[in-house]
Protein backbone atom coordinates (compact mmCIF):
# COMPACT_ATOMS: atom_id res chain seq x y z
CA UNK A 1 0.00 0.00 0.00
CA UNK A 2 2.78 2.34 0.99
CA UNK A 3 4.60 1.45 -2.23
CA UNK A 4 1.47 2.23 -4.31
CA UNK A 5 1.11 5.60 -2.62
CA UNK A 6 4.73 6.34 -3.29
CA UNK A 7 4.30 5.42 -6.95
CA UNK A 8 1.16 7.55 -7.19
CA UNK A 9 2.99 10.49 -5.63
CA UNK A 10 5.87 9.95 -8.00
CA UNK A 11 3.46 9.88 -10.94
CA UNK A 12 1.76 13.07 -9.82
CA UNK A 13 5.14 14.70 -9.34
CA UNK A 14 6.25 13.66 -12.82
CA UNK A 15 3.02 14.97 -14.34
CA UNK A 16 3.47 18.27 -12.52
CA UNK A 17 7.05 18.45 -13.73
CA UNK A 18 5.92 17.78 -17.30
CA UNK A 19 3.28 20.48 -17.04
CA UNK A 20 5.78 22.88 -15.55
CA UNK A 21 8.16 22.17 -18.40
CA UNK A 22 5.67 23.33 -20.99
CA UNK A 23 4.98 27.01 -21.47
CA UNK A 24 1.36 28.10 -21.59
CA UNK A 25 1.30 28.75 -25.31
CA UNK A 26 -1.77 30.71 -26.37
CA UNK A 27 -4.04 29.33 -29.11
CA UNK A 28 -2.61 31.98 -31.47
CA UNK A 29 0.95 30.92 -30.65
CA UNK A 30 0.02 27.27 -31.18
CA UNK A 31 -1.42 28.11 -34.60
CA UNK A 32 1.73 30.04 -35.49
CA UNK A 33 3.94 27.15 -34.38
CA UNK A 34 1.81 24.62 -36.26
CA UNK A 35 2.41 26.56 -39.48
CA UNK A 36 6.10 25.54 -39.31
CA UNK A 37 5.16 21.99 -40.15
CA UNK A 38 4.47 19.26 -40.89
CA UNK A 39 7.86 17.89 -41.82
CA UNK A 40 8.89 16.40 -44.18
CA UNK A 41 6.90 18.24 -46.84
CA UNK A 42 5.37 16.49 -49.85
CA UNK A 43 8.00 15.30 -52.29
CA UNK A 44 9.05 17.88 -54.87
CA UNK A 45 10.82 17.70 -58.23
CA UNK A 46 13.41 19.96 -59.76
CA UNK A 47 11.31 22.16 -62.08
CA UNK A 48 11.89 21.83 -65.81
CA UNK A 49 13.95 18.71 -65.21
CA UNK A 50 12.48 15.55 -66.70
CA UNK A 51 15.26 13.57 -64.99
CA UNK A 52 14.24 14.59 -61.49
CA UNK A 53 13.14 11.55 -59.53
CA UNK A 54 14.74 9.01 -61.90
CA UNK A 55 17.17 6.74 -60.03
CA UNK A 56 19.59 6.49 -62.97
CA UNK A 57 19.86 10.28 -63.20
CA UNK A 58 20.17 10.62 -59.42
CA UNK A 59 23.02 8.09 -59.40
CA UNK A 60 24.83 9.91 -62.22
CA UNK A 61 24.22 13.25 -60.53
CA UNK A 62 25.68 11.99 -57.27
CA UNK A 63 28.84 10.87 -59.07
CA UNK A 64 29.17 14.17 -60.90
CA UNK A 65 28.53 16.20 -57.75
CA UNK A 66 31.66 14.79 -56.13
CA UNK A 67 33.82 14.68 -59.27
CA UNK A 68 36.48 17.41 -59.40
CA UNK A 69 37.39 16.40 -62.94
CA UNK A 70 34.46 18.48 -64.16
CA UNK A 71 36.76 21.41 -63.44
CA UNK A 72 39.50 21.53 -66.09
CA UNK A 73 42.15 21.95 -63.40
CA UNK A 74 40.71 18.88 -61.69
CA UNK A 75 40.53 20.38 -58.23
CA UNK A 76 37.05 21.85 -57.75
CA UNK A 77 33.86 19.80 -57.52
CA UNK A 78 30.36 20.86 -56.45
CA UNK A 79 31.18 19.11 -53.18
CA UNK A 80 34.24 21.31 -52.65
CA UNK A 81 31.88 24.06 -51.46
CA UNK A 82 28.87 21.93 -50.57
CA UNK A 83 30.29 19.49 -48.05
CA UNK A 84 27.89 16.84 -46.73
CA UNK A 85 29.45 17.07 -43.27
CA UNK A 86 28.69 20.79 -43.15
CA UNK A 87 25.05 20.54 -44.21
CA UNK A 88 26.17 20.84 -47.84
CA UNK A 89 27.59 24.30 -47.12
CA UNK A 90 31.32 25.00 -46.64
CA UNK A 91 31.73 26.74 -43.30
CA UNK A 92 33.58 29.63 -44.90
CA UNK A 93 32.67 33.30 -44.87
CA UNK A 94 33.34 33.36 -48.60
CA UNK A 95 33.62 30.23 -50.66
CA UNK A 96 36.81 29.25 -52.42
CA UNK A 97 36.59 27.90 -55.94
CA UNK A 98 39.44 28.55 -58.33
CA UNK A 99 39.42 31.98 -56.65
CA UNK A 100 37.77 33.45 -53.58
CA UNK A 101 34.14 34.38 -54.19
CA UNK A 102 32.06 37.22 -52.77
CA UNK A 103 29.58 34.97 -50.97
CA UNK A 104 29.50 31.63 -49.23
CA UNK A 105 27.87 28.42 -50.41
CA UNK A 106 24.33 28.06 -49.06
CA UNK A 107 23.24 24.71 -47.68
CA UNK A 108 21.66 22.44 -50.27
CA UNK A 109 19.34 20.70 -47.84
CA UNK A 110 15.76 21.11 -49.04
CA UNK A 111 16.91 23.29 -51.95
CA UNK A 112 14.38 21.48 -54.14
CA UNK A 113 11.67 23.27 -52.19
CA UNK A 114 13.13 26.70 -52.96
CA UNK A 115 11.59 28.91 -55.62
CA UNK A 116 14.93 30.60 -56.31
CA UNK A 117 18.44 29.21 -55.98
CA UNK A 118 21.53 30.93 -54.57
CA UNK A 119 21.79 34.05 -52.43
CA UNK A 120 20.66 36.25 -55.31
CA UNK A 121 18.09 33.89 -56.78
CA UNK A 122 19.72 34.02 -60.19
CA UNK A 123 18.55 30.49 -61.00
CA UNK A 124 15.00 29.16 -61.01
CA UNK A 125 15.85 25.46 -60.86
CA UNK A 126 18.49 23.18 -59.40
CA UNK A 127 19.76 22.15 -62.84
CA UNK A 128 20.04 25.73 -64.01
CA UNK A 129 21.88 26.62 -60.79
CA UNK A 130 24.25 23.69 -61.35
CA UNK A 131 25.44 25.22 -64.63
CA UNK A 132 26.45 28.53 -63.04
CA UNK A 133 29.42 27.28 -60.95
CA UNK A 134 30.44 24.93 -63.75
CA UNK A 135 30.97 27.84 -66.13
CA UNK A 136 32.02 30.56 -63.67
CA UNK A 137 35.75 31.18 -64.09
CA UNK A 138 36.08 31.84 -60.34
CA UNK A 139 34.34 28.62 -59.36
CA UNK A 140 34.96 25.57 -61.56
CA UNK A 141 36.00 27.38 -64.73
CA UNK A 142 34.68 24.64 -66.96
CA UNK A 143 32.95 24.56 -70.31
CA UNK A 144 30.52 22.35 -72.16
CA UNK A 145 33.17 20.56 -74.23
CA UNK A 146 35.18 19.69 -71.12
CA UNK A 147 32.13 18.37 -69.28
CA UNK A 148 31.18 16.24 -72.27
CA UNK A 149 34.72 14.90 -72.70
CA UNK A 150 35.01 14.10 -68.99
CA UNK A 151 31.82 12.05 -69.01
CA UNK A 152 32.63 10.34 -72.29
CA UNK A 153 36.18 9.57 -71.14
CA UNK A 154 35.18 7.74 -67.96
CA UNK A 155 33.69 4.29 -68.43
CA UNK A 156 31.47 4.45 -65.33
CA UNK A 157 30.22 7.99 -65.98
CA UNK A 158 29.57 7.23 -69.64
CA UNK A 159 27.65 4.11 -68.69
CA UNK A 160 25.54 6.00 -66.15
CA UNK A 161 24.92 8.81 -68.65
CA UNK A 162 23.70 6.31 -71.21
CA UNK A 163 21.38 4.67 -68.67
CA UNK A 164 19.92 8.04 -67.69
CA UNK A 165 19.64 9.68 -71.10
CA UNK A 166 19.42 6.68 -73.46
CA UNK A 167 22.25 7.95 -75.64
CA UNK A 168 26.02 8.13 -75.47
CA UNK A 169 27.65 11.29 -74.11
CA UNK A 170 29.15 12.20 -77.48
CA UNK A 171 25.92 11.50 -79.39
CA UNK A 172 24.68 15.04 -78.81
CA UNK A 173 26.41 18.40 -79.00
CA UNK A 174 28.51 19.47 -76.03
CA UNK A 175 25.99 21.97 -74.68
CA UNK A 176 23.26 19.33 -74.63
CA UNK A 177 25.50 16.93 -72.70
CA UNK A 178 26.43 19.68 -70.25
CA UNK A 179 22.76 20.51 -69.63
CA UNK A 180 22.08 16.79 -69.21
CA UNK A 181 24.87 16.63 -66.63
CA UNK A 182 23.38 19.63 -64.82
CA UNK A 183 19.97 17.96 -64.81
CA UNK A 184 21.50 14.83 -63.32
CA UNK A 185 23.15 16.94 -60.61
CA UNK A 186 19.82 18.70 -60.06
CA UNK A 187 18.11 15.31 -59.75
CA UNK A 188 20.62 14.32 -57.08
CA UNK A 189 20.34 17.58 -55.12
CA UNK A 190 16.55 17.24 -55.25
CA UNK A 191 16.88 14.13 -53.07
CA UNK A 192 18.42 16.13 -50.19
CA UNK A 193 15.47 16.53 -47.87
CA UNK A 194 16.53 16.84 -44.29
CA UNK A 195 15.45 14.51 -41.47
CA UNK A 196 13.06 15.50 -38.72
CA UNK A 197 14.29 17.53 -35.80
CA UNK A 198 13.54 18.00 -32.11
CA UNK A 199 11.43 21.00 -33.12
CA UNK A 200 9.30 18.81 -35.42
CA UNK A 201 8.60 16.41 -32.54
CA UNK A 202 7.55 19.34 -30.36
CA UNK A 203 5.44 20.96 -33.06
CA UNK A 204 3.55 17.73 -33.74
CA UNK A 205 3.09 16.97 -30.03
CA UNK A 206 1.70 20.45 -29.44
CA UNK A 207 -0.62 20.15 -32.44
CA UNK A 208 -2.11 16.87 -31.17
CA UNK A 209 -2.34 18.13 -27.59
CA UNK A 210 0.23 15.70 -26.18
CA UNK A 211 1.56 17.82 -23.34
CA UNK A 212 3.85 15.13 -21.98
CA UNK A 213 5.66 14.69 -25.30
CA UNK A 214 5.73 18.45 -25.90
CA UNK A 215 7.30 18.99 -22.49
CA UNK A 216 10.40 17.10 -23.63
CA UNK A 217 11.32 20.13 -25.71
CA UNK A 218 13.84 22.23 -23.75
CA UNK A 219 12.33 25.19 -21.94
CA UNK A 220 14.92 27.58 -23.33
CA UNK A 221 13.96 26.48 -26.85
CA UNK A 222 10.28 26.99 -26.02
CA UNK A 223 11.00 30.52 -24.82
CA UNK A 224 13.07 31.16 -27.94
CA UNK A 225 10.30 29.82 -30.15
CA UNK A 226 7.81 32.09 -28.41
CA UNK A 227 10.08 35.03 -29.23
CA UNK A 228 10.49 33.79 -32.80
CA UNK A 229 6.76 33.66 -33.58
CA UNK A 230 5.90 36.58 -31.31
CA UNK A 231 7.78 39.73 -30.39
CA UNK A 232 10.73 38.90 -32.63
CA UNK A 233 8.46 38.79 -35.69
CA UNK A 234 11.02 36.44 -37.25
CA UNK A 235 8.22 34.29 -38.66
CA UNK A 236 7.24 37.10 -40.99
CA UNK A 237 10.00 36.12 -43.42
CA UNK A 238 11.12 32.79 -41.94
CA UNK A 239 7.72 31.22 -42.55
CA UNK A 240 6.42 27.72 -43.08
CA UNK A 241 8.03 24.32 -42.61
CA UNK A 242 11.32 25.47 -44.18
CA UNK A 243 11.41 28.64 -42.08
CA UNK A 244 11.79 30.77 -45.21
CA UNK A 245 9.49 32.53 -47.61
CA UNK A 246 12.04 31.88 -50.34
CA UNK A 247 12.25 35.58 -51.15
CA UNK A 248 14.83 38.29 -50.49
CA UNK A 249 15.41 40.91 -47.84
CA UNK A 250 17.69 43.72 -46.83
CA UNK A 251 18.68 43.09 -43.22
CA UNK A 252 20.79 46.19 -42.70
CA UNK A 253 24.16 44.57 -43.28
CA UNK A 254 26.87 46.30 -45.31
CA UNK A 255 26.85 44.91 -48.82
CA UNK A 256 30.25 45.97 -50.02
CA UNK A 257 31.88 42.80 -51.30
CA UNK A 258 35.30 44.50 -51.64
CA UNK A 259 36.43 48.03 -50.89
CA UNK A 260 34.45 50.20 -53.29
CA UNK A 261 32.62 47.23 -54.79
CA UNK A 262 28.94 46.66 -54.09
CA UNK A 263 27.24 43.28 -54.20
CA UNK A 264 23.93 44.15 -55.82
CA UNK A 265 22.31 40.98 -54.44
CA UNK A 266 18.82 40.26 -55.71
CA UNK A 267 18.90 43.07 -58.27
CA UNK A 268 21.79 41.45 -60.08
CA UNK A 269 20.19 38.07 -59.54
CA UNK A 270 17.07 39.05 -61.47
CA UNK A 271 19.20 40.46 -64.28
CA UNK A 272 21.24 37.23 -64.39
CA UNK A 273 18.09 35.12 -64.33
CA UNK A 274 16.62 37.00 -67.28
CA UNK A 275 19.86 36.82 -69.22
CA UNK A 276 20.39 33.13 -68.53
CA UNK A 277 19.99 30.83 -71.54
CA UNK A 278 19.14 28.09 -69.07
CA UNK A 279 16.17 29.52 -67.15
CA UNK A 280 12.73 27.91 -67.04
CA UNK A 281 11.62 30.04 -69.97
CA UNK A 282 14.42 28.68 -72.13
CA UNK A 283 14.33 25.89 -74.68
CA UNK A 284 16.34 23.73 -72.30
CA UNK A 285 13.55 23.46 -69.75
CA UNK A 286 11.50 20.26 -69.88
CA UNK A 287 8.25 22.07 -69.25
CA UNK A 288 7.77 23.02 -65.62
CA UNK A 289 5.90 25.91 -64.07
CA UNK A 290 7.69 29.12 -65.07
CA UNK A 291 5.08 31.47 -63.61
CA UNK A 292 7.39 33.15 -61.10
CA UNK A 293 10.23 33.49 -63.62
CA UNK A 294 7.83 35.13 -66.05
CA UNK A 295 6.43 37.57 -63.52
CA UNK A 296 9.38 38.47 -61.31
CA UNK A 297 9.89 42.21 -61.34
CA UNK A 298 13.19 44.03 -60.65
CA UNK A 299 12.79 46.93 -58.26
CA UNK A 300 15.19 49.48 -56.85
CA UNK A 301 14.84 48.03 -53.38
CA UNK A 302 16.28 44.72 -54.63
CA UNK A 303 19.76 46.28 -54.35
CA UNK A 304 21.43 44.67 -51.36
CA UNK A 305 18.68 42.15 -50.82
CA UNK A 306 19.73 38.56 -50.26
CA UNK A 307 17.83 35.33 -49.92
CA UNK A 308 15.95 34.67 -46.70
CA UNK A 309 17.66 31.38 -45.89
CA UNK A 310 15.88 28.34 -44.60
CA UNK A 311 16.68 27.85 -40.91
CA UNK A 312 16.72 24.07 -41.04
CA UNK A 313 20.30 22.96 -40.29
CA UNK A 314 21.12 26.55 -39.34
CA UNK A 315 23.29 25.54 -36.39
CA UNK A 316 25.55 23.68 -38.86
CA UNK A 317 26.04 26.49 -41.36
CA UNK A 318 28.10 29.16 -39.59
CA UNK A 319 29.28 31.75 -40.42
CA UNK A 320 26.06 33.54 -41.28
CA UNK A 321 24.64 35.87 -43.90
CA UNK A 322 25.65 35.83 -47.55
CA UNK A 323 29.27 36.69 -46.86
CA UNK A 324 29.74 35.35 -43.37
CA UNK A 325 29.71 38.74 -41.67
CA UNK A 326 28.27 37.19 -38.52
CA UNK A 327 30.27 34.37 -36.97
CA UNK A 328 27.74 32.77 -34.63
CA UNK A 329 24.02 32.42 -34.08
CA UNK A 330 24.39 34.70 -31.07
CA UNK A 331 25.90 37.31 -33.38
CA UNK A 332 22.84 36.96 -35.63
CA UNK A 333 20.49 37.39 -32.66
CA UNK A 334 22.55 40.39 -31.53
CA UNK A 335 22.34 41.88 -35.04
CA UNK A 336 18.55 41.83 -35.02
CA UNK A 337 18.50 42.98 -31.41
CA UNK A 338 20.62 46.06 -32.04
CA UNK A 339 19.67 46.66 -35.67
CA UNK A 340 20.24 50.19 -36.93
CA UNK A 341 17.21 51.13 -39.08
CA UNK A 342 19.30 53.86 -40.71
CA UNK A 343 21.35 51.18 -42.41
CA UNK A 344 18.39 49.61 -44.16
CA UNK A 345 18.07 50.41 -47.85
CA UNK A 346 14.47 49.42 -48.09
CA UNK A 347 12.83 52.39 -49.85
CA UNK A 348 10.59 53.10 -46.88
CA UNK A 349 9.74 49.47 -46.18
CA UNK A 350 8.94 49.05 -42.50
CA UNK A 351 9.48 45.53 -41.32
CA UNK A 352 12.69 45.38 -39.30
CA UNK A 353 13.03 47.18 -36.02
CA UNK A 354 15.64 46.63 -33.31
CA UNK A 355 14.32 43.91 -31.01
CA UNK A 356 16.20 45.03 -27.90
CA UNK A 357 16.75 41.48 -26.67
CA UNK A 358 18.18 40.83 -23.23
CA UNK A 359 21.14 38.42 -22.96
CA UNK A 360 18.84 35.63 -21.78
CA UNK A 361 16.42 36.21 -24.63
CA UNK A 362 19.22 35.96 -27.16
CA UNK A 363 20.31 32.70 -25.56
CA UNK A 364 16.74 31.40 -25.76
CA UNK A 365 16.48 32.31 -29.42
CA UNK A 366 19.73 30.49 -30.13
CA UNK A 367 18.52 27.48 -28.11
CA UNK A 368 15.44 27.34 -30.32
CA UNK A 369 17.44 27.70 -33.55
CA UNK A 370 19.68 24.83 -32.47
CA UNK A 371 16.67 22.51 -32.42
CA UNK A 372 16.15 23.01 -36.15
CA UNK A 373 19.05 20.70 -37.01
CA UNK A 374 18.75 16.93 -36.92
CA UNK A 375 20.31 15.21 -33.93
CA UNK A 376 22.74 12.34 -33.94
CA UNK A 377 25.10 11.38 -36.71
CA UNK A 378 25.48 12.74 -40.20
CA UNK A 379 22.17 13.48 -41.86
CA UNK A 380 23.43 12.20 -45.21
CA UNK A 381 25.39 9.10 -46.07
CA UNK A 382 26.38 8.38 -49.65
CA UNK A 383 24.20 5.53 -50.93
CA UNK A 384 26.33 2.64 -52.08
CA UNK A 385 26.66 2.49 -55.85
CA UNK A 386 27.59 -0.61 -57.79
CA UNK A 387 29.81 -0.19 -60.84
CA UNK A 388 27.68 0.59 -63.85
CA UNK A 389 27.40 -2.12 -66.46
Amino acid sequence: MRRRLALLALGLFAAAQAAAALLDFTPEEKRAIARHGPWPPPRAQDPGNAQSGWPAAVALGQRLFFDARLSPEGRVACASCHLPALAFADGRARSMGLAELDRNAPSLWNAVHERWQAWDGAADSLWSQSIRPLLDVREMGSNAAHVQATIAGDRDLACRYEKAFARRPMAADAETTMVDAAKAIGAFVATLVSPRTLFDEFRDALARGDRRAAARYPLAAQRGLRLFVGRGNCALCHIGPRFSNGEFADTGLPFFSRPGQVDSGRHGGIEALRASPYNLLSRWADGGDATTSRHVMPQHRNFGEFKVPSLRHVAQTAPYMHDGQLATLDDVARHYSDLNPERLHADGEQILRPLGLADGERADLVAFLQTLSPRGGPAWRAPAQRPCR
Partner: protein, 131 residues
Protein backbone atom coordinates in the same frame (compact mmCIF):
# COMPACT_ATOMS: atom_id res chain seq x y z
CA UNK B 1 -47.89 54.77 -75.61
CA UNK B 2 -45.68 56.01 -72.81
CA UNK B 3 -46.52 52.88 -70.85
CA UNK B 4 -45.43 50.71 -73.76
CA UNK B 5 -42.12 52.57 -73.97
CA UNK B 6 -41.52 51.99 -70.26
CA UNK B 7 -42.27 48.31 -70.64
CA UNK B 8 -39.86 48.05 -73.57
CA UNK B 9 -37.10 49.87 -71.66
CA UNK B 10 -37.62 47.62 -68.68
CA UNK B 11 -37.25 44.58 -70.89
CA UNK B 12 -34.02 45.97 -72.31
CA UNK B 13 -32.50 47.22 -69.09
CA UNK B 14 -33.74 44.68 -66.60
CA UNK B 15 -31.50 41.80 -67.68
CA UNK B 16 -28.42 44.01 -67.38
CA UNK B 17 -29.31 45.01 -63.85
CA UNK B 18 -30.63 41.67 -62.74
CA UNK B 19 -27.69 39.59 -64.02
CA UNK B 20 -25.38 39.18 -61.05
CA UNK B 21 -21.84 40.30 -61.77
CA UNK B 22 -19.37 37.44 -61.77
CA UNK B 23 -21.89 34.71 -61.22
CA UNK B 24 -19.55 32.33 -63.04
CA UNK B 25 -16.98 32.75 -60.27
CA UNK B 26 -16.51 30.26 -57.47
CA UNK B 27 -19.22 31.38 -55.03
CA UNK B 28 -17.24 30.39 -51.93
CA UNK B 29 -14.18 32.35 -53.00
CA UNK B 30 -15.95 35.31 -54.60
CA UNK B 31 -15.44 38.81 -53.22
CA UNK B 32 -17.02 42.05 -54.43
CA UNK B 33 -15.85 45.66 -54.57
CA UNK B 34 -18.13 48.49 -55.70
CA UNK B 35 -17.15 52.02 -56.58
CA UNK B 36 -17.70 54.79 -59.13
CA UNK B 37 -20.55 52.90 -60.73
CA UNK B 38 -18.43 49.76 -61.17
CA UNK B 39 -18.88 46.41 -59.59
CA UNK B 40 -15.81 44.19 -59.54
CA UNK B 41 -16.00 40.60 -58.44
CA UNK B 42 -12.99 38.38 -58.08
CA UNK B 43 -12.21 34.87 -56.94
CA UNK B 44 -8.69 33.76 -56.02
CA UNK B 45 -7.38 30.34 -56.85
CA UNK B 46 -6.34 28.74 -54.57
CA UNK B 47 -8.66 30.14 -51.96
CA UNK B 48 -8.05 31.43 -49.36
CA UNK B 49 -4.96 33.14 -50.72
CA UNK B 50 -1.93 31.37 -49.23
CA UNK B 51 1.31 33.01 -48.17
CA UNK B 52 4.35 32.22 -50.27
CA UNK B 53 2.53 30.57 -53.17
CA UNK B 54 1.46 31.71 -56.59
CA UNK B 55 -2.20 32.42 -57.03
CA UNK B 56 -4.53 33.61 -59.77
CA UNK B 57 -7.59 35.78 -59.80
CA UNK B 58 -10.66 35.28 -61.95
CA UNK B 59 -12.27 38.71 -62.28
CA UNK B 60 -15.50 40.16 -63.61
CA UNK B 61 -16.14 43.89 -63.98
CA UNK B 62 -19.65 45.23 -64.54
CA UNK B 63 -21.31 48.64 -64.72
CA UNK B 64 -19.42 50.32 -67.54
CA UNK B 65 -17.31 49.42 -70.54
CA UNK B 66 -13.74 48.69 -69.48
CA UNK B 67 -10.79 49.43 -71.75
CA UNK B 68 -8.07 47.98 -69.52
CA UNK B 69 -7.56 46.39 -66.12
CA UNK B 70 -4.38 46.20 -64.07
CA UNK B 71 -3.92 44.23 -60.86
CA UNK B 72 -1.35 44.84 -58.16
CA UNK B 73 -1.07 44.44 -54.39
CA UNK B 74 0.81 45.88 -51.45
CA UNK B 75 1.17 45.66 -47.69
CA UNK B 76 0.31 49.17 -46.50
CA UNK B 77 1.63 48.61 -42.98
CA UNK B 78 4.99 47.46 -44.30
CA UNK B 79 5.10 49.90 -47.21
CA UNK B 80 6.06 47.33 -49.77
CA UNK B 81 4.42 45.66 -52.70
CA UNK B 82 4.79 42.30 -54.35
CA UNK B 83 8.00 41.07 -55.88
CA UNK B 84 6.05 40.10 -58.98
CA UNK B 85 4.14 41.97 -61.65
CA UNK B 86 0.79 40.35 -62.35
CA UNK B 87 -0.39 39.94 -65.92
CA UNK B 88 -4.05 40.41 -66.81
CA UNK B 89 -5.75 38.80 -69.75
CA UNK B 90 -9.22 39.80 -70.97
CA UNK B 91 -11.31 36.75 -71.72
CA UNK B 92 -14.38 38.61 -73.01
CA UNK B 93 -17.71 39.76 -71.59
CA UNK B 94 -16.03 41.83 -68.88
CA UNK B 95 -14.12 38.82 -67.61
CA UNK B 96 -10.40 38.77 -66.85
CA UNK B 97 -7.74 36.40 -65.56
CA UNK B 98 -4.83 37.75 -63.50
CA UNK B 99 -1.76 35.57 -63.10
CA UNK B 100 1.60 35.76 -61.38
CA UNK B 101 0.50 37.09 -58.00
CA UNK B 102 2.43 35.98 -54.92
CA UNK B 103 2.13 37.29 -51.37
CA UNK B 104 5.53 36.58 -49.89
CA UNK B 105 4.64 37.02 -46.24
CA UNK B 106 1.64 36.59 -43.98
CA UNK B 107 -0.31 39.63 -42.84
CA UNK B 108 -2.70 42.21 -44.25
CA UNK B 109 -2.36 42.73 -47.98
CA UNK B 110 -4.30 45.11 -50.19
CA UNK B 111 -5.42 44.01 -53.65
CA UNK B 112 -5.43 46.93 -56.09
CA UNK B 113 -7.52 46.93 -59.26
CA UNK B 114 -7.01 49.86 -61.64
CA UNK B 115 -9.89 49.92 -64.09
CA UNK B 116 -9.68 52.14 -67.17
CA UNK B 117 -13.18 53.19 -68.10
CA UNK B 118 -14.68 56.22 -69.85
CA UNK B 119 -11.33 57.99 -70.20
CA UNK B 120 -10.46 57.72 -66.52
CA UNK B 121 -8.93 55.20 -64.16
CA UNK B 122 -10.97 53.95 -61.23
CA UNK B 123 -8.98 52.34 -58.42
CA UNK B 124 -10.80 49.68 -56.46
CA UNK B 125 -9.07 48.09 -53.49
CA UNK B 126 -9.77 45.46 -50.90
CA UNK B 127 -7.72 44.24 -47.98
CA UNK B 128 -7.19 40.54 -47.39
CA UNK B 129 -5.66 38.80 -44.41
CA UNK B 130 -3.11 36.18 -45.40
CA UNK B 131 -2.00 33.49 -42.95
Amino acid sequence: MKALWVVCMTLVVAPAIAAPCGEHLDAKARRQIDGDGLSLNYAPRPSPIPADRNFELAIAVCGAPVTALRVDADMPAHRHGMNYRATVQATGDGRYAAQGLLFHMPGRWRLIFDVDTGGKTVRLTQEVEVR
